[in-house]
Structures are given as C-alpha cells and as structure tokens.
C-alpha cells in the first residue's frame, strides 16, 4: 500500500480513537485502559510475520521472543480486563437486589423521611 493511503488511514484512525472514548465515566477508566492495552497486543501479527520469514537462527530466536511477549500482552490483556469487568456485573441498572441482602433498616428510614 502506498504512503498516502497509509497516512489517510492513520489520520482517520486518530479521530476514531479520540471520538470513541470521549465521554467515558471515571469508574470505567481502568477497564478501558486495560482493554486498549490488550488491543495493542495485536503486534503479535507482526511478530508472527517476522518469525515466519526468519532464516537466521538468531533472528528466529529474537522473533520467537517477540511472539511470546506479544501473546502475553494480547491474551493476558483480554483476560485481566474480563476479570475487572466481572466485578461490574452487579452494577447493572434496574437489576433487582439479590435475595438475602434487603435491609430492614433501609425501608424504615425511607419511611421516616416521608
């Protein structure tokens, strides 16, 4: 692909990147950072290409190291983000309270306020 097309794509991607996270609440800052972190693990594709075209043993060794590191970034990144987001399950709006955690006192104080 020629330089101008790549530049076009890069500039457009910058704007998409800006837009896509412009209004995120602070509670989700960390998962979002972690998710973006996982996405750049896609450098794995580059590492695979380099390793697959390596002819010299040293080049192959370094490329395989890059594959290991990139895979750790990619796989670990998505797994740890999922772990974080697991914790947000209970925070879906409108979900009824799980049984056993309703509070007697909460109801009374609501009544007292009336």
């Amino acid at each position: 692909m020629d330089g101008i097309s790549l530049l076009t794509i890069t500039v457009l991607a910058v704007f998409v990147g800006f837009e896509v996270v412009s209004k995120v609440s602070s509670t989700l800052h960390t998962p979002l950072m972690s998710g973006a972190n996982a996405i750049h693990g896609i450098i794995l594709v580059g590492a695979i290409i380099v390793a697959g075209q390596a002819t010299h043993p040293w080049v192959l060794a370094v490329a395989l190291l890059a594959v290991v590191l990139a895979t750790a970034n990619l796989v670990g990144g998505f797994v740890v983000t999922d772990r974080m987001l697991e914790m947000f399950r209970g925070r879906k709006p409108g979900k009824p309270a799980p049984p056993g955690v309703t509070r007697g006192k909460t109801k009374e104080s609501t009544e007292a306020k009336r």
Partner: protein, 457 residues
C-alpha cells in the same frame, strides 16, 4: 497450502479493525463493557488466524509453540491476580507489548530499504523501549519493590536531556545508514529514557503514567505496522494511541492534575513531590472501643474507603463491620470516590470482591448530600479524596478535585496508619477539626478491633 487471496485478507483485517473499534465503544458503558472486551478478543483471534492463512510462513510449529508459552504464562496469571495487583499486571502486559514492537522493528531494519521506513523503525524502537522500561518501573513501584514516592536526584533533567539527545543522534544515524549496532544502542537509550521518565512520578500518579505508556505502545505498534506494511497494525495501534491519550487526560483531570505536571512536576520540585513532614498540631486519637461506641449507637454511618483499605486487604473486615452495624439497626453505606485507591474504580472492585451489595456502594454525586444526615463518617485509609484543601486552598496540588463532603457528618473517624500525609503529600486540615477522631493502625487490624468491640456492645 494455498494462501488466501490478498483482497480476502484485507477484508478480514478490516473486520478485525472494526471489532477493535466496537470493543473500545463497548468499554464506554458498564452495561456493554464485558461484551465489548469479548468482541475485541474475537477481533484479535480473527486477525491472528488470518495471518497464518495469508502469509507464507516458515517455522510454524515453533511459532505455535511460542504462542502456547505466552498464553500459558499470561492467562493463568491474569486469572488469579488479586484485585489490588491488577494495575501492575496491566503495566506488565503493556510493557511486554512495547518490547515486542521494539524487537519486531529491530529485526525488520535490515529489510527497510526506504529512508522513511527506517524512520518508522527508529520510532518503534525508541517508543517501544521507553514503554517497556517505563512499565517495568511502574510495575516495581506498584508492587512496592521500590519506593512509591517520586525519585529525584540532582542532575536528573540534565541526564534525561543527554539521553534524549543521544537517542536523536543515534536515530538519525540509523535512518541514514541503517546500522544495526546503532539501532541496538538506540534500544538501550530508549530503555534508559523510559526509566528516567517514570522515576520522578509519585505513587498516586502512577496509574496515569501506565495509561500514558499504554498510548505510547499503541503508537509504537502503529509505526511497526508502517514498517511491515500491515494496515491492521497501523489502525489498531493508532486507535490505542489516540484513545489512550484522551483517556490519560481524562484520568489526570479526574484527579485535578495535568499530564505535564505529573511527568515534570517533580523535576521542578513542584506539586507531585509533596512532603513527608509530620505536623505537630494536636489531634484527638482514640481507642477501638470508643470508635465502636460511636458507630454502634449511630443511626446512619457512611464508610469512606481508600487505598489504605486495599493495601491492608481489609475489605472483608469492612464488609463484616457494616453487617454487624446493620444487624444493630444502623444504616451503613459506602461512599465511593471515583479516584480513591490506585486506579479509578478501584474501590468498586475491591468491595464487590468482599460481597458488599451494590446498593450500598454510593457514587460521589449520590452520597455527597447525605453526609449531612450521617452521624458518623468512617474514613478508612483515604486522605486526599476527603481533603477540604481541594475546595479551599488554591495552589494546593489537589485544588479543584471534587471531594467527598465528610466534614458535613456529625462525627468523623479516620482510621490511619500514621499522621503522614496522603499521596498528594499535603496535610488534611479535617484531621484537626473538633468533630474528628483518629484511630491509628493498619486498616485491617483497626477494623478487626472495632468489629470485636461492636460485637461486644
């Protein structure tokens, strides 16, 4: 094996790029976040499978073995990591990604015939190395393998300047001549610059630096895409670079900070350095039994958790204390400041782990008007997020940061390890107010003692 048609390959890469955009979009809202992350993972899977069927590759068994090793190490670690250790794990994954980008660029240098491709090579080398080394230092800081306070020494700015100048020189030489030895030197200079960049950053600001380095790695990956002529790497890397930059600014803004102030504040001896000075103004300290009486006979208690609770792993004890108080008829809520702890949302995940029901976790906007009706505000290991200086003292490092209005409660109880100021390094005047009581000690131990005393009431 016949390879995929280049057009089909391009379409599959386009699909992967769209999945990545949808993933970031999904991560914007708690409702769609988990699905968004899975969409991203699916996009990555599509891309990795595509590369195997679209490029003539040797050494496939070895590559598959390397992928197995990488996943075999990373997935279980990511599965088992403790909540409090997630930020440093993200830093670690970010660092190895940057390292991988730098290695890819290094290996592609001999094939880079155009000067502009070599520009992309040196950019990837330098930024990838900065990200790798910087992330390693943030990991060490968050894991408390080294001090969490800013490390500054005389001559640091000069040294940093010298390293950057040498890096620019080496980069120019590599672009012009393509020397592999100089490229290795550039890699080492990048590592040094990464260390020097993060050393002066203090504890509470470290997550923001992780986010910045995350954006750096994104840019390095985008540049490596230019080197390899791979559009997917360009798009994905640029997306992360751009969104990471916005996210870094948003995170800094939530803490009332500027990114430049975080990176260079300590250089100038400015705000992030803070102070470790211990004030000798009188405070009222008390015993666990006294605190238990205060809590046990209150109608309404609001607990304000902070990093001290996370460090002491006291979340389960805090949840038990809340339960014990509720069984006595006290209403207990947890007030969650968005940046309490060491990563935004830290307290939400910490208390969710201790099975505190989500109705009791109140966001700042929701709870702030309710402190007025609270008998006791129990501040556990938090400091800066309740410091009135954020409202009253212009020029204070945290000035302008929204805080939890604990001062409105009838009584304020601080559980603190010592009188040392918080991460921002500034004294909290609230601790000297007449309605404030302090209980010194490790958060978990203090909570355990208070819990025992409440049960004995």
């Amino acid at each position: 094996m016949t390879l995929l048609d280049p057009n089909v390959t391009a379409l599959l890469y386009l699909a992967a790029a769209v999945f990545f955009i949808l993933a970031l979009k999904g991560l914007n809202s708690p409702r769609t976040a988990r699905r968004g992350n899975l969409i991203g993972a699916f996009g990555a899977l599509v891309a990795v499978v595509t590369v195997f069927f679209s490029t003539r590759l040797d050494n496939v068994p070895l590559i598959l073995g390397a992928i197995a090793v990488g996943s075999g190490v990373a997935a279980p670690v990511a599965r088992r990591v403790k909540m409090t250790q997630m930020p440093q794990l993200v830093a670690l994954f970010n660092g190895v990604g940057g390292g991988a980008a730098a290695l890819v660029a290094l290996l592609e240098l001999p094939h880079a015939e155009d000067a502009w491709v070599r520009v992309a090579v040196v950019f990837t080398l330098l930024v990838g190395a900065v990200s790798f080394a910087g992330s390693a230092v943030t990991f060490a800081k968050l894991q408390e393998l080294m001090t969490t306070r800013p490390v500054v020494f005389p001559g640091l700015p000069v040294l940093m300047g010298a390293v950057l100048l040498a890096a620019v020189g080496a980069a120019a030489a590599v672009v012009l001549g393509g020397s592999l030895v100089l490229a290795l030197l550039l890699l080492l200079l990048g590592l040094a610059a990464g260390v020097l960049l993060v050393l002066p950053v203090g504890g509470a600001d470290v997550p923001i630096v992780i986010s910045l380095l995350n954006a750096f790695t994104g840019l390095a990956v985008a540049a490596s895409g230019l080197v390899l002529g791979n559009v997917l790497l360009v798009v994905a890397g640029t997306l992360v670079g751009a969104s990471g930059t916005i996210l870094t600014r948003a995170m800094a803004a939530a803490m009332g900070r500027s990114v430049a102030g975080i990176l260079f504040g300590a250089f100038r001896g400015g705000s992030t350095a803070g102070s470790t000075a211990v004030s000798d103004r009188p405070v009222r300290s008390s015993s666990p039994e006294d605190v238990a009486v205060l809590l046990g006979y209150a109608q309404r208690v609001i607990i304000v958790p902070g990093y001290g609770l996370a460090v002491a792993q006291g979340q389960h004890t805090a949840a038990e204390l809340a339960q014990a108080l509720e069984s006595r008829g006290t209403r207990v809520d947890f007030a969650i400041h968005p940046v309490a702890g060491r990563m935004p949302g830290h307290m939400n995940v910490l208390l969710a782990e201790a099975n505190v029901p989500y109705e009791s976790l109140k966001e700042m906007g929701e709870i702030n008007s309710e402190f007025r009706t609270a008998d006791v505000a129990l501040v556990v290991g938090a400091n800066d997020v309740v410091n009135p200086a954020a409202k009253t003292t212009a020029g204070s490092p945290i000035y302008g940061m929204p805080i939890l209005e604990v001062a409105d409660a009838r009584q304020v109880v601080f559980l603190k390890r010592s009188m040392r100021p918080g991460f921002a390094g500034i004294e909290n005047d609230l601790m000297f107010e007449p309605q404030t009581t302090l209980l010194f000690g490790d958060a978990k131990e203090s909570l355990t003692k208070v819990l025992g005393a409440v049960k004995a009431l």
